[in-house]
Every structure is written in structure tokens, then in C-alpha cells.
């Protein structure tokens, strides 16, 4: 095992679906408390990689350690140490705000008083204490996403995986969302985030760019910009994904 500061450790990860190689020899690690951006065009293999990291899919070969556990041999332990939020699903629309919190709190093994305490804290921090017993469907998409993130970190996981968390929300909400991400990172939660918005890549500590199942770049945003002589991450991305 690598040094203990590595909460994610991936070595020679290969994932094949028949003849198609979705992930080709991935190598990277993520430090504790880091905000790690995972970029790539659609079909570049991001989702496959995130599924493997979350224990939802098994690697064809290679070593994948998350929160100190091998995903192949201890997927259950990995699942307990992570949080996950996907682009598609925020929370259940036909449950109230609190019922959603309680459901996922219980699933992640929190006790009832603990859930109550943490949900009160969370709701007052978000400023939606009044909406506690309203159906989720009455909230706007932005609020749903912020709430979904807060629920994903409710059990204080070591790592939270965010799969395109901000797709479809307005720029102001995106900013607020990133403030939440920073707060969690400050509390020591490692954030692994995939995104389509390249301005968001600038907010990350380090960024990976995947092209055709391979990692073509991995560094801090400023180092990448300097290395490729670009002004923005957008240019970096275009230069790497469309070399011509």
C-alpha cells in the first residue's frame, strides 16, 4: 500500500467490455482532503472509472484501493466509507426533505438521534429549516442538488463521489454548490468530482483529463495551463481532446 495519505489509489486499472477497452491502464492517486476533478468528453470512460471506484463494477485487471480497502475484495467496506451523488438522481421527489435525510441516514447506519441532530444542523446551515417537512418536489432543482450533496456527506464519508453534480443548474447555484464542496473538503472529506463545466475544473486542486479511456493529463489546473500554454482550462481541454 502507498502512503496513508492516499485515500484513492489506482494502479494499472483496465476495464474491458468484450473487445472494447473503456479504461486503459489508469494510474493515479488522490490525497486526503483533496478536491480531485475528473474530466473527459462523453464516452471517455469517466463513468466506468467512477463505477469501479464505488464498487459497482469490477475492474478487469489492476489494483484499486478506496479508503484503504481493495474494491475487489472488500466492496462492502468501501461502500460504507464513501458517499455518492449522481447527475440524474438527486433525492426522492415524493418524500419530504426530512424523510429523504432519514432514509439515507439510516441506510448509512446512523442512529435516529444522530440523524435528527445532523439534519437540524444541515438544514439550518442551508437555510431551509422551514422546508423540513415539505415534499422534495416543491423545491427547485438547485436546492435539490445542494440537499443531495449534503445528504451524500451526512454520514461523514472519507470520500464523496460527485458525478456531474451541477449539470442543469444556474451559475449562482453552481457557485453556492462549490462553496458546499469547499466546506466539506475543509472538514477533511475528499471530493472526487466529474464535470462538464470547465470553469469548475479551475476550482479543483488537481485535475485529470481522460481521452479514449486513457489519462492524458493529471496536474493542478495552473500547471496544466502553463504546460500547454493556455489561458483557461477550456483551452487545455480542447487542446488535449482535439489535438488538431
Amino acid at each position: 500500500m502507498e502512503a496513508s495519505t492516499h485515500v484513492i489509489n489506482v494502479r494499472d486499472l483496465v476495464k474491458k467490455f468484450g473487445d472494447f477497452t473503456a479504461n486503459d491502464q489508469l494510474n493515479f492517486h488522490v490525497e486526503k482532503g483533496e478536491i480531485f476533478g475528473f474530466l473527459g468528453a462523453n464516452g471517455a470512460g469517466k463513468t466506468t472509472a467512477i463505477k469501479i471506484l464505488c464498487g459497482l463494477s469490477l475492474p478487469t485487471s489492476g489494483l484499486v484501493e478506496v479508503a484503504g480497502y481493495n474494491v475487489k475484495t472488500h466492496p462492502e467496506k468501501v461502500k460504507k466509507s464513501i458517499g455518492y451523488m449522481s447527475q440524474k438522481f438527486s433525492l426522492y421527489d415524493d418524500l419530504t426533505v426530512f424523510e429523504n435525510i432519514r432514509l439515507f441516514g439510516t441506510i448509512y447506519g446512523l442512529s435516529t438521534p444522530e440523524i435528527k441532530k445532523r439534519s437540524d444542523e444541515m438544514l439550518s446551515r442551508l437555510g431551509i429549516t422551514k422546508q423540513r417537512n415539505r415534499l422534495l418536489s416543491t423545491l427547485s432543482l438547485g436546492w435539490k442538488q445542494k440537499l443531495a450533496f449534503s445528504v451524500a456527506v451526512l454520514h461523514r464519508p472519507k470520500i464523496v463521489f460527485l458525478d456531474e453534480p451541477t449539470s442543469g443548474v444556474d451559475p449562482i447555484t453552481r457557485r453556492q454548490f462549490w462553496e458546499l464542496i469547499y466546506q466539506s473538503a475543509n472538514e477533511g472529506i475528499t471530493v472526487f468530482v466529474t464535470t462538464h463545466y470547465l470553469d469548475e475544473a479551475e476550482y479543483c486542486n488537481r485535475v485529470t483529463i481522460m481521452v479514449d479511456g486513457k489519462i492524458t493529463a493529471l496536474d493542478t489546473p495552473s500547471a496544466l495551463k502553463a504546460q500547454l500554454e493556455c489561458d483557461t482550462m477550456n483551452d487545455v481541454f480542447l487542446k488535449l481532446t482535439r489535438p488538431n
Binding site: 464505488c54 464498487g55 459497482l56 463494477s57 469490477l58 462492502e76 461502500k79 460504507k80 464513501i82 455518492y84 451523488m85 449522481s86 447527475q87 440524474k88 438522481f89 426522492y92 415524493d94 418524500l95 424523510e99 432519514r102 432514509l103 439515507f104 439510516t106 441506510i107 448509512y108 447506519g109 463521489f161
Partner: protein, 371 residues
């Protein structure tokens, strides 16, 4: 902790069901509407069937036969005809359901060895009813024949065929439809609703979130189906209650056995629902598979409405693959004949076989999907 997780998940599923008013209406009103419709409207009972008489004999015996037909309560004379053509037209127009034709020498020929001639011509465009009408009329005429001739003069008939309808002597349609409706509703609630509710989680993406969570796959599946088991049982018993108390359907067997067989069938339907959800990519497909692959065959091929014996042989073979067939057959045995486990063991065994097969397929498919 595992129990607590599971319980919170079941509670969530129950909330989904109870907050969706439309589904709730479908779940509770539909079974009741079904049984009332089948009980009151679609009836294969014979009462006051319209008959026409072409009496070429016009004698005492022919009038006696007509009187008996009418007094049985099954028939009602719509018209008397003077010629065959007139009678056939009435039959063709549907004015009458059956014609009774007496030969000219009906009365006198009753004493002759080759017998008297009476003809029943039924409108077989409704084949089931036609058959029942003719059977009834034959029975009534046979009864008259025995009474009106003395033993010595009776025709040398070696045997009199007496068809009797056992277990449902008055051929009340609602008796037949109670087991059928139970089979249909349980398939609908258990298989369709679960397959839709599981595919909905897939469609919305929440399944991914659940699979990544510490919940085990079996907890997810169990949590999803548990509320439907209870709903299905409630439905089964409400249909049964209406059948027994409103329509006086006999229930001569053991309620315990009935519950056991129903539970087995519900589990079978649920495993079918889970299987469908592993195949269907979204709610729409799940619903169509449930409707066309489950509902229609249940209605058409399981002996619910059409007798299996009347089907072409290849369809009869096909109907062996319909799980509801065995449930309906077991229910009928238990309810009408008071049969015990020793009579329905074959059905129980076959349903258990289906259950194991679908569970096996679902687990295999579920794993494949996770890869």
C-alpha cells in the same frame, strides 16, 4: 442495523405507494370493479333465454314439452312460427337464441320404437351459450319422456345420458370468475407494480445510488417487494370476501391452504416482476411486458374465461406455461371442492418450480447487469 435499514427502505416504498393517489386507486378500486363487473354483467348464466317454436305437430305432447321448457325458468317463448323460413329468419336476426322444431307426428311417434323427433336449433355464433341451451333443453325433454311413457312402452333406449354440472350446478359465471380475477389482480399488482417500481428506480438513477450504498441487493429487492406482498394479500382477501358474501360463491376448503397457495402465487408473481425489471430498461417497457406477456395470456390462456379443453392442441400446450393456470385450478379445487393439500400438491409443486426458475433467472440477470 440490517433490520433497521431494511425497515426504513420498506417504509420508503410504502410512502411511494400511498402518496401516489392514482396508483392507489388502481390498486384498490380496480379489483372491486372487476369482480362486480364479472359478477353482474358478464354472466354465462342462462335465464329466460329467448326461444322460438315451430310446432308442426300441434298436439298435446308438443304443448307439454313447450310448457316444461318455459316453466323451467331457463326459457321464454318469444314467438311461434308457421314455417321453417320464418323461424330461420328470426334465428338469423337474433330475435331468438334457439328454435324448437317438432316433427308433424310428434305425439303419436313417441310410442314408436324409433322415437319421436324434436329438433333444437341454436344460434351458435355464441357457441358457449348455444351449447348450454341445447344441453338444458335436452335434459328437460328427456325428463318429460321418462314421465309421460310407462315403463313397458318406453323406447328401448339402452341408456339415457344425463349431463350434470357438478360444483357449479347452476353454471353461475361469477363462480368461475372469482379465481380468475384473483389470479389476474395478483399478477397485476405483484408482477406489474413491482416491475414498474423497480424500473422506475433504474430510470431515475436512484438504483445506482442504492447499489453504491451499503444496502445489499437482497435488501433492496426485499424492501421493494414487501409492501406489494401485503397489498396483494389484502386484494386477494377482498375479492374473496365479495365473492363469498355478495355473490355467495362457495368456499368449502380451508382458508389456511387458500392463503398458503395464494402466498405462493404472489411470490411467484413477484419473482416474475423482478425478472421483468431486470430485462426492461424503463417503466414503459416494463408495463408493456407485464400487460402483453402477463395480463392477456392470464385472461385468455389460463382457463379463466375460455375452457382450456376447447383450445387447439398447440395452445393447450402453451397454456401449460402460464403460471396463473395452476393457481386458478388450485383455487377452484379448494373453493368449490373443498380439496386439501393432497389434491392440489401438483399445482403447488409446479408453482414452486416457476418461482425457483424466475428467481434464478433474476439473480443471474441482476449479476450480469452489475458487471
Amino acid at each position: 442495523m440490517i433490520v433497521k435499514q431494511l425497515w426504513s427502505f420498506i417504509r420508503k416504498e410504502a410512502m411511494h405507494i400511498f402518496r401516489d393517489k392514482r396508483t392507489l386507486v388502481v390498486l384498490f378500486v380496480m379489483p372491486l370493479a372487476q369482480i362486480l363487473i364479472f359478477g353482474y354483467v358478464i354472466s354465462t348464466e342462462i335465464k329466460d333465454a329467448r326461444i322460438g317454436v315451430l310446432d308442426n305437430a300441434r298436439d298435446y305432447s308438443s304443448r307439454q314439452v313447450i310448457d316444461r321448457l318455459v316453466s323451467s325458468g331457463y326459457f321464454m317463448v318469444q314467438d311461434y312460427y308457421s314455417g321453417r323460413e320464418q323461424m330461420e329468419n328470426a334465428l338469423r336476426r337474433g330475435d331468438i337464441q334457439m328454435a324448437v322444431v317438432f316433427a308433424p307426428d310428434f305425439g303419436s311417434s313417441m310410442e314408436r320404437p324409433d322415437g319421436a323427433q324434436v329438433q333444437f336449433i341454436a344460434d351458435a355464433s355464441d357457441a358457449n351459450t348455444a351449447r348450454i341451451l341445447v344441453n338444458y333443453a335436452e335434459g328437460i325433454v328427456a325428463g318429460y319422456e321418462i314421465e309421460s311413457t310407462d315403463v313397458t312402452n318406453r323406447r328401448k333406449k339402452p341408456l339415457v345420458v344425463e349431463a350434470r354440472m357438478f360444483y357449479n350446478p347452476s353454471l353461475r359465471g361469477v363462480f368461475m370468475s372469482v379465481p380468475g380475477i384473483m389470479a389476474m389482480i395478483l399478477i397485476l399488482v405483484s408482477a406489474m407494480m413491482t416491475s414498474i417500481s423497480i424500473t422506475r428506480e433504474k430510470e431515475y438513477g436512484s438504483m445506482e445510488v442504492l447499489l453504491i450504498s451499503p444496502l445489499q441487493p437482497w435488501q433492496i429487492i426485499l424492501g421493494k417487494v414487501a409492501p406489494y406482498v401485503i397489498l396483494s394479500l389484502v386484494n386477494a382477501f377482498s375479492i374473496l370476501a365479495i365473492g363469498v358474501f355478495v355473490f355467495h360463491v362457495p368456499m368449502s376448503g380451508s382458508y389456511l391452504l387458500l392463503t398458503f397457495v395464494s402466498l405462493l402465487y404472489i411470490l411467484l408473481a413477484l419473482s416474475l416482476g423482478i425478472f421483468i425489471s431486470t430485462v426492461a430498461p424503463n417503466q414503459m417497457v416494463a408495463m408493456f411486458i407485464s400487460l402483453f406477456a402477463l395480463m392477456l395470456p392470464t385472461i385468455l390462456l389460463s382457463g379463466f374465461i375460455y375452457p382450456i379443453e376447447n383450445m387447439p392442441v398447440w395452445l393447450q400446450w402453451f397454456s401449460h406455461l402460464m403460471p396463473p393456470r395452476y393457481y386458478i385450478s388450485a383455487l377452484k379445487d379448494i373453493m368449490f371442492k373443498g380439496a386439501g393439500l393432497f389434491v392440489v400438491w401438483k399445482e403447488v409443486l409446479i408453482m414452486t418450480g416457476f418461482l425457483v426458475a424466475f428467481l434464478f433467472l433474476s439473480i443471474r440477470n441482476f449479476k450480469v447487469r452489475l458487471e
